[in-house]
Every structure is written in structure tokens, then in C-alpha cells.
Subunit: 326 residues, 2 copies
């Protein structure tokens, strides 16, 4: 049924070893032999069995991408770019959804480890210890910095700093930050950037949360922020910000006249609200591509220091921010 290297070998009147060489190390066989083999291979529609190859080479030609939530366009943006980059290097990608459960995540990594050459971990909830416990598999971390493990991070602290500067410039002096999960490395980063920026711009900060980084979280957080008497709300991400917007609408408040709102991530859908959401662009595609490239490079040169790249973020001013009501 399925056609193997042996079929190609007999058709080309060579040994299986020669077929193998002709495909993997072309310069080890005479040109005419090689072309004969290649002809036979294409004619038969031969596709090497990667599992069998992997058994002996120890390389699967696969990478894994672990994300907390496939329904979240933030992660799928990264996934898409990583997948494209991997395909370009002839690697297939396994994807696993951890449902934002760190425990499940570790299990997933363990299970996947055997089937892939390396993994990209996008999971914000993992502790350093948990990550270290699986670092025998080549890893690239996304938005999480850990010495010794390659990582790609987007500079969200700076992004939030840009938001604070923007709001301060508009005249806001009391601002709420709706925090995401405190176990998230990137949220902690933002909070640090936030504190620094608040001090620098003489802004009084009301930190609320943690909230679920979802629409419902925004709904829930809004009333708290309102009660705190702020004139601007910075949400952990766009999804949460959309929740805030919805809740403010329900409460009869006008954005940005009564209150300013900002998101984070710059999901396409965030630009489609009315007014459009002021937010911070995260370089998702670049991040996904970079992470995949890092991992791929790691396969060749597994030694050397672990690279860490920091990608810049950019404030996108749209319609949900304005000077506070007088």
C-alpha cells in the first residue's frame, strides 16, 4: 500500500542506502545515480516516513506550540506566524491548548516532548521552577524571561508606560489599572513599568484585580474602577477592555467624554469598536516568527548562551481616550 524506500531502491536499481543518501546528502552519490533515484522517487510519489527517520536520527522534524487558549487571537496570532516559519523550515507543528491550566501544561509538555524537537511555550502562568523542570527539551519562552532559556518577549512594560504618558498628557491624574492574573510573568512586568511611569508622570494609580483576562473580567472590573473615582481605565488586554466598554455603555457612561479606556494587544477587533479602542500594538507575528526561528536555530547550535530578544511595542491612539471631564 504505502510506498517505502525499498520500492524506490528497486525501481532505481540501487540499494536502499543509496536512495537514503541521494535524498539526504546529495553530494555523496554520483549525479547520474542521484537523478535516477530522484526520478524513481517522484514517479512513485515517495514520501519518506519521518517517524522512521526520527527513530534513528533522533530528530522528529516537528515542533510544538503550547498556548493557554486557542480562542484568544493574541495566541493564535503568534501561533500562525510560528507555524508559517516552521513550515518554511520543513517542520510541522503540534499545537496544544492548555486551557490556562499550568498543571495541564506541564503534562502536555511532557507528552509532547517525545514527539517534537522543541517547544514554544506561550503560557503566562508557568512558574520558573515548572519551566526548569522540563527544560531538557529545547524550549523557547514567549513573554517570559528566564536565564538559560531562550525567549522572545514583547516589551509590554514600555507599552504600558506609553499609555500612562499618553493619559497623563491628556490631563488624567487618577487612573485605574485592571490587572490580569498575578501569576503571569508579563503582567508583573507591566505592573513594574506601570509603577515607574506613574511616579514619573505624577499620576495616582489605582490597581484593581486580578481579573480574568476576558470579557467578563472587564465587566466585573468596571464597576470597581468607577467606584474608585478614576477618570481613565487601563485594561490588561483588549478583550477585557471591550468588556469595560460594554459595561460602561450599560451604565450610561460615554467614552471618552466621561471616562477614557485603553486596551492592550491591538487585536483587529479592537479597532472596530465605536469609538475605536486606544491600545498598544504587540508585534505578534514578529514574535511568533522570532520564537520559531530561535527554536530552529537551537537545533543546530544547541550550545552557546540562550538568546533573549525584546520586541518593541507601540501605543496606538484611537478614540477611547480624551482629556478627563472638567
Amino acid at each position: 500500500m504505502t510506498i517505502t524506500i525499498r520500492d524506490v531502491a528497486s525501481k532505481a536499481h540501487v540499494s536502499v542506502a543509496t536512495v537514503s543518501r541521494a535524498l539526504s546528502s546529495p553530494d555523496l552519490v554520483r549525479p547520474d545515480t542521484r537523478s535516477r533515484v530522484l526520478a524513481a522517487a517522484t514517479e512513485l510519489g515517495y514520501q519518506p516516513n519521518r517517524a522512521a527517520r526520527g527513530l534513528i536520527t533522533g530528530k522528529t522534524g516537528n515542533i510544538g506550540v503550547v498556548v493557554p487558549d486557542l480562542d484568544n487571537p493574541f495566541y493564535t496570532g503568534i501561533l500562525k506566524a510560528a507555524q508559517t516559519r516552521a513550515a518554511h523550515a520543513d517542520h510541522a507543528v503540534f499545537v496544544a491548548n492548555s486551557d490556562e491550566d499550568p498543571a495541564a501544561e506541564i503534562t502536555i509538555v511532557r507528552t509532547m516532548a517525545k514527539q517534537v524537537d522543541g517547544l514554544i511555550l506561550c503560557s503566562p502562568g508557568l512558574t520558573d521552577a515548572q519551566i526548569a523542570s522540563v527544560a531538557d527539551t529545547p524550549l523557547v519562552l514567549l513573554n517570559h524571561l528566564l536565564p538559560g532559556v531562550p525567549s522572545t518577549v514583547m516589551d509590554s512594560a514600555d507599552g504600558l508606560g506609553q499609555v500612562v504618558a499618553h493619559l497623563a498628557a491628556l490631563g488624567h491624574s487618577r487612573i485605574a489599572y485592571l490587572s490580569g492574573p498575578h501569576t503571569s510573568w508579563s503582567n508583573e512586568q507591566r505592573r513594574q513599568g506601570l509603577a515607574a511611569a506613574a511616579t514619573e508622570h505624577f499620576v495616582e494609580l489605582v490597581e484593581l484585580g486580578p481579573f480574568a483576562p476576558r470579557h467578563e473580567g472587564g465587566l466585573q472590573a468596571t464597576d470597581l474602577a468607577l467606584a474608585a473615582g478614576v477618570t481613565a481605565i487601563m485594561a490588561y488586554n483588549d478583550i477585557m477592555a471591550l468588556g469595560v466598554l460594554a459595561r460602561l455603555r450599560d451604565r450610561g457612561l460615554s467614552v471618552p467624554d466621561d471616562i477614557s479606556v485603553t486596551g492592550f494587544d491591538n487585536l483587529v477587533y479592537a479597532s472596530l469598536t465605536s469609538p475605536a479602542l486606544t491600545t498598544v500594538r504587540m508585534p505578534l507575528a514578529v514574535a511568533g516568527r522570532t520564537a520559531a526561528t530561535m527554536l530552529l536555530d537551537r537545533f543546530d547550535a544547541t550550545d552557546g548562551p540562550a538568546p533573549h530578544v525584546v520586541l518593541p511595542t507601540q501605543l496606538i491612539v484611537r478614540g477611547t481616550t480624551a482629556p478627563p471631564p472638567t
Copy 2:
């Protein structure tokens, strides 16, 4: 380095065959032997090499999901559910993004075929002939009906019928339909349902397009629809509808007072516009789960007739539809 079945065997003082049996067919070994093996396995942290197993069983324990665009929440909704279902059956999932290119898609399927036990194809652009050409690999089609190939389809024709009925009941008599790609099986389905519904409800239909099923497509289509003098616009999907809404806003038109707009898919983001989008709910999660289940079932019973399940859709009336201006 990596720990194999042999390590477990020697630690448990049994043969490798016994270890294999203890893990795969527990009832073939004595309980105490099995527990000894299991203990050794867990103590060593043994994870069977699935590639090696697959080499002999012919089963990889993997399935593939091919989608046109990982940035589209419609597909990731399906993917997520399929992944969860597969994981539940101890199958890992490969994901590939075809970039909406049918040619690339076939290549992807061919490449993946060796590494998976079966595939879920979510790609609307594939022709029947193309699908048939790869049907030697177990396949489940999403939103595409082809005799002999198992499929899960969402009844979008009926969904669009519900939209027409709704608009007709509101008093609209001239309605535009912004068509998606004509190569899409599901779009053709909708157009058929549409024609029938229009006749039934005495509605005059202006079919425009095809347009790209994206935000830009909606932008582009809007002016055409306006020029056609309709009082309601039915978009191919929510993303396109959001484009329509944006363009109408730019043109100074009020929705739903001046004109009604409907989407399709019920993406979460569609409910967050203001006014919220009237649309049709597609049972994405059910579809993903069903497709995965179908595929998994197919592995056990590869014969028998190909199952086809049709999932109901549901009109979700929100704020973008109202009676036409008088």
C-alpha cells in the same frame, strides 16, 4: 539519556514484551506483574516513543487539522474544540495554515498524511476533485459535503433563511447579500438557501460580490450595496459585517435606523459592537468536537457508510436590524 522500554523491563525484572503488554493491554499480564511494571515506569518517568510504536502499528496517534487562516476565530473555534476532543482520546494534533491557498493545501495534506492517522479539513476552497485525490488518508470535511467522505456541516443555508425571514418580517423588501468566495462550498449552500428564502418571503435580492471574507471586503462591498438602493445588507460573515459597519459609519449612515446589517458566525467580537451585530450562531465548538469524534471513530471502524452530520444554526437578533426607514 532518553529512557526506553528496555530500562523499564530490566528495572521490573521482566521482558520488554511484558512491559509493552502491561501498558497497552493490561489484561494480558498478571496484576502483580503489571503493577511492578507500572511502578518501574513511573519511577523512571518512562514515556513510550510514539514514533517507534507507530512504525509497527501503523498508527501515529496524531491527527491533523488544516485551516485556511489561524487568525480567523471561526477556524480557531473549531480547532480548539477538535484539539480538546483529540487530547481526550490521547491524540496530539498537527495544525497547518493554508493561507487560503487550495494548491498549498493539497501539498500540506500530502505532507501531513504520513504523520497522522487522519485529517480534518476546514478549507472551503477545495474542489471535490482535489479532496478525492487525497481521500486515501482518512478525512473529515468541515462545511463541505462530498459523498463517501465523512463530514460535519453547519446548516448555514437555513441560517441565512432565518435572516431573510427576520428582515422580511421587519418590512425589508430589497436586500443585498454580500457574497463570499464562490469556490466555497458553504457559500454556495447559503446562496441556494437564500434564493429559496427570498422567493418564499417575496423579497427582492441583490447579490453582490464575491468579496474577500474579511474586513476590507466589507468596506469595499458597502458602497456597492448602497448604490444598489437596498435597506438591508447581509454580509457573508461577521468580519465582513464589521467592515460594513465601519464603512457605513464613515459614510455618515446610522445603523439600524438608515440601514440594517447582519453578519454570520456569531464571533464574540460581533456582540461587542455598538449596536451589537445581528448574526447567525454557528456551533463551532460542537462542530470541532463532532469532526474530531468522527475521525477518531473512523480509525476503529474504517468501513461502513461515511457519516454526515448537519448541525443547526440559530439567528441571533441584536441591534443592527430594524424596520427600514419610512
